[in-house]
């Protein structure tokens, strides 16, 4: 039986620095394997949609621009994503990956969470289809990496 068994720890804390990390002032690098935001390489994709089928949260949409020439746009919903990386495992052509840097995703508006990946020309085509009569958006209006 002891009175104040944590005294040792408490005393030690007086002479050591706090365990607190000073985020956001000081930022430590996230581990290499961290499952952050998804990224997609349009060049390798064959449009098999296995990633879409296996996604547990409907976070990925693959929009076909031109099936024959394998032109697609990927619409990724960071707010639905569960960061499980099943899509990365399911993809046979290694065109998906998860970044270990894109994890500070907080935003004040939900619109920021929908990201479109694809070549600039494909993105412009998609925009023209979805927003008829608005003309081609100026470059940089809807950048591929809106979350960064």
């Amino acid at each position: 039986m002891k009175f104040g068994a944590m005294f040792v720890d408490v005393l030690r804390s007086v002479f050591t620095r706090p365990a607190t990390r000073l985020y956001p002032k000081v930022r430590t690098k996230a581990p290499a394997r961290l499952h952050g935001k998804l990224y997609w390489d349009p060049k390798l994709c064959t449009g098999c949609t296995l990633c879409v089928k296996d996604c547990p949260a409907d976070a990925i949409e693959l929009i076909t621009i031109d099936r024959a020439t394998k032109h697609f746009v990927m619409r990724y919903h960071a707010d639905r994503c569960t960061y499980c990386a099943q899509c990365v495992v399911s993809c046979r052509f290694k065109c998906l990956g998860m970044s270990n840097e894109g994890w500070e995703l907080a935003a004040l508006k939900k619109e920021a969470f929908t990201v479109e990946y694809g070549s600039e020309a494909d993105l412009a085509k998609l925009f023209a289809v979805e927003h008829p009569g608005e003309g081609i958006p100026p470059a940089g209006e809807k950048p591929a990496s809106a979350l960064e």
Binding site: M1, K2, F3, G4, A5, M6, D9, V10, A19, P31, R33, L34, H35, K53, D54, C55, P56, A57, T82, Y83, C84, A85, Q86, V89, S90, M98, N100
Partner: protein, 524 residues
């Protein structure tokens, strides 16, 4: 006794009630009985002290078959005996076995509200998981359930508990600082003494068991992982084991070892988390802060190894996603050494600190008989001297190669629960070291077909809170037909609510914390 002789014993015990029995898997006996034979069959098993009731699964065989089944699963070591009661889809009825096994109360209420089966003689037939505004006569787990039919109905507001006379009701939850998760309790107090306890679940009920039927086998894995954010890995392991048994694929030994390794790290994180929360409930914030500070060590390890801090997604069907390289192994060893030293220190604190012992020693004591009577599982049972640990009783996966020894204590009070959980950390640390020293080489995963062969299987896994039970049924499609999840918390509630009566109100939060409740597990 071997599994085989246990099953033979069960078969002979049930011979008079049996309407046909099968052996679907080597460790399972499936006995079809009439609903009138249920009470004699359960008494026969109970009187012979054959295992314990582990779960009650409802099963809808579809509109064409016109049959709903109630499966009563009994486990004794690795042997599982299932009593299968066939009932008509509409108007089916089974007798309640609450008088024999009080732990069945929650399961029977679940069966009644999910399948519309009448359970005659239930002591409490109020809503368990479904919301108050759920229409009468709509049963979500039936195959022809239409979500449109479940429109909210008007309910009279619950009578506001009066504080007249001696009935003074303290509501705890669903939003309450003592509960990080929503559940609702009503403690009737006389001064500071609790005289009655009631509980309402269902605030976290999302309907995962139904949702699984609409998702393919792979999607279901991640959905089930999110049944609970604390023991997420054990849920996915239980599901993977079941699916792999159905698909009859052999998971590579390396993958099995990595699964056990992650499960070990998860157990450390869960127990340290619990230690902190329990200390916080007792008003000992410094212990909370220190145990959570040290817990960050294991969180870092998990994040480094798997990429996520909480829902690791380490498993895929047929193996694991992640490999443990030599560099990671070294980091894990270092972390484990530190954590083991700290755990010894915490064990010292919870067993010697005078003020803390005043809040734990002799409080909520549960004898071995009581624990058996209430069907308690996990550390709660082990603190009362019952060796109930699936990893020891029925080793699965890598536990056959890297066996683990169970920790038990005799006192059954809150202090014993602290001691059992902390000592489990030492055992776990040693197991992790053994695995790291003998990590088998080879593949990480084998291919599992997208369509799983038809069949039924049971997988049992030891979660940090106790035995986790999965019943999985496939009809050969690309989606599961039924996944039943029975989590340890649900089994432990009955005992804790009984213990609360006669306790001080101030002891209630600690008593609730003592069983390490997980509402998201309960409610699914």
């Amino acid at each position: 006794m071997t599994t085989e002789s246990l099953l033979q014993q069960a078969e002979s015990l049930l011979a008079t009630m049996s309407r046909g029995s099968t052996r679907p898997e080597t460790n399972r006996l499936d006995v079809v009985i009439e609903s009138s034979g249920l009470v004699p069959a359960v008494s026969a098993l109970k009187n012979a002290r054959w295992g314990y009731l582990t779960a009650l699964t409802g099963l809808d065989l579809g509109v064409e078959a016109g049959v709903v089944e109630a499966l009563y699963h009994f486990c004794s070591d690795a042997a599982v005996t299932t009593l299968r009661v066939r009932l008509p889809r509409i108007g089916g009825s089974v007798p309640s076995i609450y008088q024999l096994i009080p732990a069945v109360g929650f399961y029977e209420r679940e069966l009644a509200e999910m399948y519309g089966v009448t359970v005659t003689g239930m002591p409490d037939d109020s809503r368990l998981f479904l919301p108050d505004d759920w229409p009468v006569g709509v049963y979500p787990l039936l195959k022809d359930f239409d979500p449109q039919s479940a429109q909210p109905v008007k309910v009279p507001p619950p009578p506001r508990g009066s504080s007249t006379g001696e009935r003074f009701i303290i509501p705890i939850g669903p939003q309450h600082p003592a509960l990080k998760e929503p559940g609702h309790f009503e403690f009737t107090v006389d001064g500071e003494i609790v005289t009655a306890a009631r509980m309402r679940l269902g605030y976290v009920h999302r309907g995962i068991e139904k949702a699984v039927e609409q998702r393919n086998w792979i999607q279901s894995l991640y959905l089930l992982e999110r049944v609970c954010g604390i023991c997420s890995h054990t849920h996915s392991v239980a599901y993977c084991l079941g699916v792999e048994q159905l698909a009859q694929v052999e998971v590579p030994p390396r993958a099995q070892a990595i699964r056990e390794l992650i499960a070990g790290l998860e157990r450390i994180h869960s127990h340290l988390l619990w230690l902190g929360v329990a200390a916080h409930e007792a008003g000992f914030d410094t212990l909370f802060m220190y145990s959570w500070r040290d817990r960050e060590t294991v969180m870092d390890l998990l994040e480094t190894v798997s990429g996520n801090r909480v829902n690791y997604s380490a498993n895929i069907l047929g193996g694991v996603k992640i490999d443990i390289t030599a560099e990671f192994a070294e980091a894990i060893r270092r972390g484990i050494d530190y954590l083991e030293e700290r755990s010894r220190h915490y064990l010292d604190i919870v067993t010697t600190d005078t003020m803390f012992l005043q809040r734990t020693r002799g409080i909520g004591a549960m004898t071995r008989e009581q624990a058996e009577h209430f069907g308690v599982l996990g550390p709660l049972a082990r603190a009362s001297g019952i060796l109930r640990d699936v990893r020891v009783e029925a080793p699965y996966g890598a536990y056959t190669r890297f066996p683990i020894s169970a920790v038990t204590a005799q006192a059954g009070d809150l202090e014993a629960r602290f001691v059992v959980r902390l000592k489990e950390l030492f055992v776990t640390c040693n197991a992790i070291r053994t695995i790291l020293d003998n990590l088998p080489p080879g593949e990480l995963a084998v291919k599992v077909p997208r369509r799983i062969p038809a069949g039924e299987t049971i997988s049992r896994v030891e979660a940090p809170r106790g035995e986790l039970f999965y019943f999985i049924r496939s009809t050969g499609g690309d989606k599961p037909d039924r996944v039943k999840v029975r989590t340890p918390s649900l089994c432990n509630w009955t005992s804790v609510l009984h213990q609360a009566i006669g306790c001080q109100l101030a002891d209630v939060p600690l008593l609730l914390a003592g069983m390490d409740p997980c509402f998201s597990c309960n409610d699914r």
